[in-house]
Amino acid sequence: MSERRPYMRAQPRDWWAHKPYLGYTLRELTGAGVALYGGILLAGLISLARGPEAFEGFRSFLTSPISLLIHLLLLAVMIWHVVTWFQTMPKTMPKLIVGGRHVPQQNLMVAGVALAALCSVALIVLVLAVGAWS
């Protein structure tokens, strides 16, 4: 007659709010920031489709202090997305072996963030150039 009576402790409902998981939760929430910015772009597209007056209304909102605040917050969230994205992305690749040695994931992260910085800077420079040329 077995005396076994295995006891299963329930997972706490708020596990995602405590260490070591809180960092992961915050990382995932940057996705909400990305979607929110997409929403702002969609709002602009909707106003554009509605005509010049609606679009001017949207442009005028973009010059308001609240819009500036929202965009600065979204910028901070987006930058955190960039950093955590390249921390996580190397996990989805097979281990890189260059010259017989493993490339540490840290190196891939730095390369990724550098690439992202380059791309964003390049886009801004492109727009500045078009602005200066026209």
Binding site: R13, W15, W16, T25, E28, L29, T30, G31, A32, G33, V34, A35, L36, Y37, G38, G39, I40, L41, L42, G44, L45, I46, L48, A49, P52, F55, E56, R59, L62, T63, S67, L68, I70, H71, L72, L74, L75, M78, I79, H81, V82, W85, F86, M89, T92, G112, L115, A116, C119, S120, V121, L123, I124, V127, L128, V130, G131, S134
Partner: protein
């Protein structure tokens, strides 16, 4: 004895869109926010008229412009939808079908809206 392989998950579809949106937003997101939220509205470094109705319309009527707008808006929504869905699932915020409709469903709807608007704006 070979146990039969488990039923395939549909997750790859959402995961790949999450990945595409994540990469696009990682590479260009900061610049886009700075451009559309700060530089263009306040005319910093770019002439203010670049953001006016005529210029915006020309961009949105251009086929390449449409592609860029659709890719950025839709992929940003699908990226967010996957992450918000999984976070709500972690938080046990509700039944999974409900969470899916609230996230993927909304992303799908907004993608269709974007497509419809881009077509309505014309060429």
């Amino acid at each position: 004895m070979t146990p039969h392989a488990p039923k395939r998950s549909m997750s790859p579809v959402f995961w790949l869109m999450f990945g595409a949106g994540g990469m696009l937003s990682a590479l260009f997101g900061p610049a886009l926010i700075v451009l559309t939220g700060i530089m263009l509205p306040f005319g910093l470094g770019v002439p203010g008229r670049f953001g006016d109705y005529a210029h915006a319309l020309r961009f949105a009527q251009n086929p390449l412009g449409k592609l860029i707008l659709l890719a950025v808006i839709a992929l940003f929504f699908w990226h967010g939808a996957e992450r918000i869905f999984l976070t709500l699932k972690d938080m046990r915020a509700g039944a999974l079908p409900v969470l899916r409709v609230a996230t993927y469903g909304v992303a799908a709807l907004l993608t269709l809206v974007t497509l419809a608007l881009l077509l309505e704006i014309g060429f």
